[in-house]
Symmetry: C2
């Protein structure tokens, strides 16, 4: 059910999204069109869309344009974060394609990111939404939180250690908050009952944290040809992911890993064995599962239709198990 | 009258603005606090404020907080453009102080700019404004236009020539649109009659274009100790300002200037003479005056109170004649 829903959604969404981005001036809009057209899960707009459909009890895909605009706005926002993060992280490739600052240059990437954020707000504000004020506030708030998350992530890079609660707070801000906002804005757009927003918020927040934790896990345990970037690249850069934080809790294991990372060729099989033997792989999976379960539990409290409930449930399961 | 109004406004505004910017994470907010505290005209929030007061017929400065928030939002937006423009233009100093990317680093400046834009929207969306939808749309639209203006400005850098209409369109977008938005948002916040918005828009737009043209003129004709950057720096970088565009229309004069610019020490007195003798200085002043006059003329059609009308009139005159 999830697969069909996602395929049907993406087909309409992709063409809607691309026609929302103007053509001229080309130096502004070409990089924006480029990043928006990269293969992507479309997780955030799909979440928003599924909540809207769940609340307005519509199972078809012929929602009025204003809802598609709102879904596009959240994806544009997400793309803004990708362009600027890639500059800050000096990543030259994303999903196997050149990043914007690599394909064009730094200035183009800065301005392209700014343009995506501006266009996101512009598109968001077009629809005649009843809950316009709430939607705008949630939208604005989430962007600020994303910036705070990015700042914390960069601050963590130069700290000698970070504890798990601080790490979880950071990934909620950097990744979870937009997934949370997608869910809540879908709720507002679908005019959900006021009593349900706290549940929707918890659903999105937990799903978002689980999403990032799974990402951290996949850095080491994905198949190379599925990942779109080098296996172990977070580890090699000693990025403070959940894996690294758990390694720091196991001082001895960290030492073993240190030797393996220093090796020119990353000995990924040996690294995997160490993480499995030390229990870190399992602990990480359990953490992903526990956040996913907390998200799924919230779905029971919502008055959305059964189709949307099933899709959201399946989506949570899929994200927990995904291989890339 | 203008002087007193501006001083009284700035005193309240500055303290309101600084308390709107959080403290932590420090790597995000310290650069934002820094740029917001740099000496500045506060032209945009003051315009917004004056329109609000003119329409709600309040001459005192005890406006409800929501109006101060809105004025702060427009200044935060302006500060976002400054940080990112300074990166793109590789400017190391602004108003005699280090720019953000110079004082910190590039990543901090990118994120600080993003944070300002995010906070601008966040602050804008806090107030319980009657015309919330219109305000949000104007706000969003203006940011996108600013990005288009910046893109055009960068595109112009590599063109061999730019004609005057295209240049005027670019500066409207890059500089005029935020001044226009400040005026219109002030009108919405003060609940101006619907029939007056086109006049308000024309006032802001013409004032904004005049503002940038005067800036171009001051690059060469200001006093060094008043300008906060090197005299003739636009010219030295062969930036396509109105001066350069008029020079390109006078092929022969441009050649003379070329020789003077190539000189290690910019011979500013000789450059001034050439611009004066060729009539370019006068033509530029006349252009500034004509946009200023068009702006002022629109004030007659507005039902704002007489205090605000006088202040806006004086403000237009002041900006036309300003020395820095």
């Amino acid at each position: 059910m999830l697969g069909n829903a996602l395929t049907a959604f993406r087909e309409i969404f992709d063409s809607h999204l691309s026609q929302l981005i103007p053509e001229y001036p080309k130096s502004l809009y070409a990089p924006m069109r480029y990043i928006a057209a990269l293969p992507s899960k479309k997780l955030r707009p799909f979440l928003l869309h599924t909540f809207v459909k769940g609340y307005i009890k519509n199972n078809r895909n012929d929602l009025p344009e204003k809802y598609w605009d709102l879904a596009a706005a959240i994806e544009l926002l997400h793309n803004f974060t990708l362009i600027h993060d890639d500059i800050m992280d000096e990543d030259d490739f994303r999903r196997g394609r050149k990043t914007v600052h690599n394909k064009w240059d730094m200035n183009t990437a800065i301005l392209g990111g700014d343009g995506l954020l501006a266009l996101a707000f512009d598109v968001m504000s077009r629809g005649e939404m009843e809950n316009f004020v709430h939607i705008t506030r949630e939208f604005s708030r989430s962007v600020l939180i994303v910036c705070e998350g990015q700042a914390l992530d960069k601050e963590f890079e130069v700290l000698s250690s970070v504890d798990e609660p601080n790490y979880l707070d950071m990934i909620y801000k950097k990744t979870g908050s937009l997934i949370e906002a997608s869910s809540i804005i879908g709720g507002y757009a679908g005019d959900a009952p006021a009593t349900e927003f706290e549940h929707i918020r918890q659903f999105g927040r937990n799903l978002g944290i689980a999403f990032q934790l799974r990402d951290d896990y996949l850095d080491i345990f994905a198949e190379q040809d599925e990942l779109g970037k080098d296996i172990g690249s977070d580890l090699r850069m000693r990025k403070k992911t959940i894996i690294m934080i758990k390694l720091m809790q196991h001082g001895k294991t960290l030492k073993k890993i240190d030797t393996l990372i220093s090796d020119q060729n990353l000995r990924i099989d040996e690294i995997r064995s160490v993480l499995e033997d030390s229990g870190i792989a399992d602990e990480t999976n359990e953490l992903v599962k526990s956040y996913t379960d907390q998200a799924k539990k919230k779905l029971d409290s919502l008055s959305i239709n059964e189709d949307s409930r099933s899709i959201l449930w399946e989506l949570a399961d899929y994200l927990e198990q995904r291989s890339h």
